[in-house]
Amino acid sequence: MGEMMGDALLRVENLHVSVEGTPILNGLNLTINRGEIHAIMGRNGSGKSTLANVVMGHPAYEITQGTIHYKGSNIEEMEVFQRAREGMFLSFQYPASIPGVQVGTFLRKSVASVRGEAPPPREFRKELKNAMEQLSMDRSFLSRYVNQGFSGGEKKRLEILQLLLLQPDLAILDETDSGLDIDALRIVADGINSIAQDTGCLVITHYQRLLDLVKPDVVHVLLDGKIAQSGGPELALKLEDEGYDWVDALA
């Protein structure tokens, strides 16, 4: 890890990010401490997924100004897999399909990489069984290829299964609620809540319905690549009722 700074789990300061020369984030500031749940809402194209991807280190996103500190260190030069091994997790809005790679094999290798050693097989099977039961997932998932032919809901459950197994320090959930029916949403929310106490969570969503189940400590509104408003859970309710026009007016 690079230069140390402060005690916050994640500290984003004056972050400017471009994709293929187009500015997306324009001076974003955000601090998340362990045990806090932060929700980010905003219109399509406001930069929510860009924030998630740049924190995770996606190579297509260029930081043109500002810093991201994680566990006190600047992580700009840190590779994606190193961030994962340092306890960062992104639940993707559109998880990639990996033909020919079985879910069971993928999970075992991923857990071994993040933990730094392969878990004992018997313990891992037990851990996996418990996590899958918690998410009402059938064992047949394990022999299917990663996300190939999965429904939207199955993809999101697999993301949350990984969240439970990897036990990250920072979990970024990018529209994890999209495509879920009411029952699946409750199961996924329970999964998030079960790790939230010891984790910093950044929940990106369009809808209040997830925040009814995963109670945020702070709600942020992203507008044109920076945070325009922050507040408590009541801010999400206001957005649900009134939309984003009033945020435009304030900005």
Binding site: M56, G57, H58, P59, A60, E79, V80, F81, R83, A84, R85, F89, L90, F92, P95, A96, S97, I98, P99, G100, V101, F106, K109, S110, S113, V114, Y145, Q162, L166
Partner: protein, 345 residues
Amino acid sequence: MTSYLDASLPTRSEHLWRYTPWSRVHPTKVDELPTIGEVVVESEDTVLKIVPKRSIQHGNDIARIFLDEVLENTHILALENETNHVHIRAGGHAVAAHIHIESKQSSSVMFHLTGEAEWVGLWLTGNILPNSQLSVGLINELSTDTVLVRTDNWNVERDGDFELATLSLGGQRIKSDIRTTLSGSNSNHKQFIAVHGHGTRHDDHHVEIHHQQPHSNSKLTVNAACDDRSHSVGTGALTIDDDAQHTDAGQIFRNLLLSPSARAEAIPELEVMANEVAAAHGAASAPIDSTQMHYLMSRGLSQEEATAMLVEGFLVDSFVEVRSDSVREAMQTRLTVHLECQLLG
């Protein structure tokens, strides 16, 4: 029959020899007919008989004419068990074998091709009888310096079902010419080929599938992962005769390019004379998908580990439709071990 020394040599304008001229895979010089030894063929599961070489139609193909002339014996493989493993061990300077499969009911056979011979000739033949099923798998793990010339001739009769899977990992220069004739109505054929190109391997697979009778189905899947300075060639020739109405046939060639110096050719060709058929073909070459790579790396896998997983998945995916569990599992297990050695050291 034309003798080898009287036969005219193919030119590079011929589809079959466009990318790998006969001169590059002949054991010595093309105007020579050298002495060729025999490979060792062994099996603990099935009966192997060695008989004087059986006459085979060579169709004026130079490789077959050559093999026909240098081979003295035919190994007859009479499959009696459901699952059979056959080891083909190639040692010495130049060796060859003709293996003919006799299968009456439902059976499968796995060929394990190994050895350090400089040149190996392999001719596989078989007739899939009416209402019978045959699954054949071949894993090529020859030494990195070996030249392999493989010719196959398969015939599938009425209601016969034949699947053929090839995992090509070894050898320096490989020329495979695999021909299947669907001579009976309602016959089915699926063929799966996975190639891992590494170092300077040159791996050329030419696949001909000929539908002669109606209601016959075929599907060809070729996946080649090409690393380093390797060169993979996949050419297909699908022929549907005018009697072969209601045929359903497809060919797909996919190349995964892992290095800027790797090359891959994929050329499916169709010749369709019947008018009520479904015939499809496709070819694609691309580097590793950056979205997949990012996804795996975001789960803690290093670039090398993620690449290995994607390559393995890509190649394993070639065999996903193999019906025979023993063939599919043998392919997947060997592939995993090979890639762990090759890509992760």
